[in-house]
Amino acid sequence: MSKKAVLSFSIYFFVFILMVEWLKPVIELTDTDHLYLFSSYLLLSFLFYFVRLRWYYAAPLKLLFIGWVIISIYTDLSFFSLDAFSYLIEALRVNLAALITREWLEVTNPFRTFLFFLLLWMTTYLLNYWIRVRKNILLFFILTILFITILDTFSPYNGEKSIVIALVSGFIGMGLLYVQKIGIENKEQVKAPLLLGGVGSLVGILVISGTLAFILPKAGPSWPDPVPFFTSAKSSTSSGEGGSGVHRKVGYGENDENLGGAFVQDDTPVFTAAVPTKQYWKIETKDTYTSKGWIQSNTESQVSSYNVGELIQSDITPGEEERTAIASISMLQEYPFVMQPYGIKRVDALEPFTLSWSESNQKLTTFNGGSTVPITNYDVAYSEPVYSLKALRNTKIESLDSLTSEFDRYLQLPETLPTRVRELATSITDGDESLYEKAKSIERYFRQNGFRYDQQLAAIPEGDMDYVDQFLFDTKVGYCDNFSTSMVVLLRSEGIPARWVKGFAPGEIVQREDSVPVYEITNNNAHSWVEAYFPNIGWMTFEPTIGFSNSANLNYDLDIQTDELEAPEQTPTPTPKKPKPETESAEVSERLTEVMTRSVKWVLDRKAAFIWSIIGLAFIGLLAYRFRRKWLSKMLIPVYRARKNDWDTFEKMYHQLLKQLHSYGYVKEQGQTLTDYATQIDGYFNGNHMKKLTSVYEKGFYGGNKIEVDYVLMRESWENLINQLSG
């Protein structure tokens, strides 16, 4: 073989290797087998292209190969038999029929294989074009690298080797192509030194840089692995997630054994709730803190069953009867439990199910026929509990002694809890007389002592480290789990029974149904907060997380001076970073949103009209632009006819004419005099109007003689020129 042929062969060979690197992940990821068969097909194709086999030889040969592959994979028939032939014909007939009737699923596997071969055929054809004609495979090379790296990143495919192989063969292939190109451009035989020099230096550079890159120390990735982000954005179910792994997806999950770590945003809607006021949606509580997270003690506890519409006896007393409101909930994801507003009284729904209220975690699970069922639409009647401030102020520390043993699980703390946590609790609540004040002090503590809300920077306790201790003393950065867990632990350190509540924050108003706001709750709204128990009062919610507010309703029944009153919005937030707007600004934004929504709706209702008028206007504008020469300058004639016959008008007319001439492509050079230009223009139009106008203009402009002008004559000349322009 000549050197040229060697060169050409090498190019095809390296491109073949690149192509195989495409094939590998496809075969692996689609669970297709027989990589070697497809590779041989590619080899065959490139071989044909290399020897420049005429297409009328190559095409039947390729078809023969494809047929043989199909027969040998899918049947036991001998290829050179009549049966095999009829099998192929029949397969073709059936599949073509399926294609014509667009029954995509009817297409059989042999035909799919055939189509895949066709795809490969086209690809090799294209590659041959790139090699033979364009002499450039850079685009293909880049695509290959992108393809492999993307698959390596986002799919189970491991492309470590492939990337190296593809890079090396791609670079060598490009280098060889370039050598070939030089040879052709210089119309010389490709000389061996050039070939050796070109390829040798290329390989040398690749080897040296590759070795260097391999030896040099490499920094870790500066970005976190993007895969979880993409996967979380893709999948919508969130139940059962959590716990393991560095990154978790935000949302409701049941496993809270290992808290901490960054969260990935997920705005998948979970449910919508038409409810008059903002509600926290409680799902369940947990009682046992493990120093890493939460678990539930005695899951086999008491369960009470209720029918639809039946009054539910929860351990939180609802408010007054007349304050009962209805929350209409539409689930967008399947959960077999009820989203409980505080003060839940009963659940109404059209669907048949029974509710079971668990004593242990206050979860309202929905059952039907002995198994849990998700319900989609239900109404919850509730009346927000109201607490008497007077009674709250009277919650004495001594009263805690009278707590029964059933509260023990709400006072549980791990033995490994560092003492400084307890000391902190004592110091925070020092001086508070009532239990309520202690709880409030703890709740407030997070808002004033350098704590920060961040979903990404939350740490995971390692080794013996305590989750709460780490947050309170080391990081001070975290999200709701950190704040709520810490508050529960601090409350318990002070002997106040407390439990960790899981559920959803109120969400965002998306629309209004008969003036009742409809909130949309997404996975991003998954939240955790605190319930504390005060003897004689009962369970009461607290919201320690910065940026959230959920004060329990208080009855200001104190008979003391008002200045000692606790403000209703008792959470004096020193405006920390707010992931959610506070109530007041939220209302403003609600109103704004409403106005926005209405105007958008108004436009949307008339969408068709708008679009048609825009299209119409655009069309008219386009026509006007297209035929601007026809009308634009003609418009000038009546405009100037309306003016006086004097120098000023004439001067303006003359300049307008110059402008028009310019826009029609008769450009006056910078250094060109008017006389010269006029001669040129009159040459174009075969007249002398421009010269007439110009001499008058010059007389007036340079000579200052503006009186002895026959303006009528000038106007005639001017209109003549303008008409000629638009004609």
């Binding site: 300049h655 110059l658 050079e669 910078q670 250094g671 060109q672 005099t673 008017l674 006389t675 010269d676 010059e698 007389k699 402009f701 340079y702 000579g703 200052g704 003689n705």
Partner: protein
Amino acid sequence: MMEQLQIQSIITNIGKVMIGKKNIAELAVIALLAEGHVLLEDVPGVGKTMMVRALAKSIGADFKRIQFTPDLLPSDVLGVSIYNPKEMEFEFRAGPIMGNIVLADEINRTSPKTQSALLEGMEEASVTIDGITMPIPKPFFVMATQNPIEHEGTYPLPEAQLDRFLMKLKMGYPHPSEELEILDRVEKLSPIEHIDSVITLEQLINLQKQVKMVKVDQTMKGYIVDLANRTRLDTYIYLGVSPRASIALMRAAQSYAMLQGRDFVIPDDIQYLTPFVFGHRVILRPEARYDGISTEEVLTRIIKRTPVPYKRKVSQ
């Protein structure tokens, strides 16, 4: 209009003697009307003398010719005071400069001393001898010639002195057909003998006064200044033109406008005259010569790039 006819008649009259080269005759007349002087640069024998003589005859003016030689003294140009023993006093004998139309032939052949004597006289329109200043009679028009070919034993005019000439013209050879006509004309007789004056000296002086009346619009003055300024900034030009050149251009343009029968100057006048008026006043950088670019080309480029004012600057 009358002025135009008078001027045209001079040019036509010269044309009787000078075959072809109408534009040179025209420019010479323009220079005369603008009260300037002309430097004619050309090889001998192309009709320089003939033209000047024809011009002098056409206006009925006194024609003097000074043939410059290396040994010519200033007194040979200006005149000399000679002691008259009879009268017992010095008597002034006027030199050839005391004429209306003076042909200073081959001016670069004489010593700088003599050259400057002439040039001073041109500039001042008067001569000073022995402390007595005598005005040169009007009209006074010097046409100096120099031979561009011979450099041996010549004293090239310094730039400062070139500036004294309003224009520098080049005759060039006549077209073969024109040359044939010249031969035809001079075959039997000498045409210069047969032309008469077409206007009187008084009329000429009046014309010179009229030239100054031609309107030069403010924009045109600005245009002249712009052009002059650009010669000073051009990369190919080592020395740009002086304000004297701007004045000269304006004067020449006025004169040219009158020749065209206009009482105002238009940009075309200025563009036409710029090479003749500015040409000998700029010095090109050596780079221009290396690039093979002539003064004319540089000036043409400047004219092309200088925006012609054709609207009032809008006073906003």
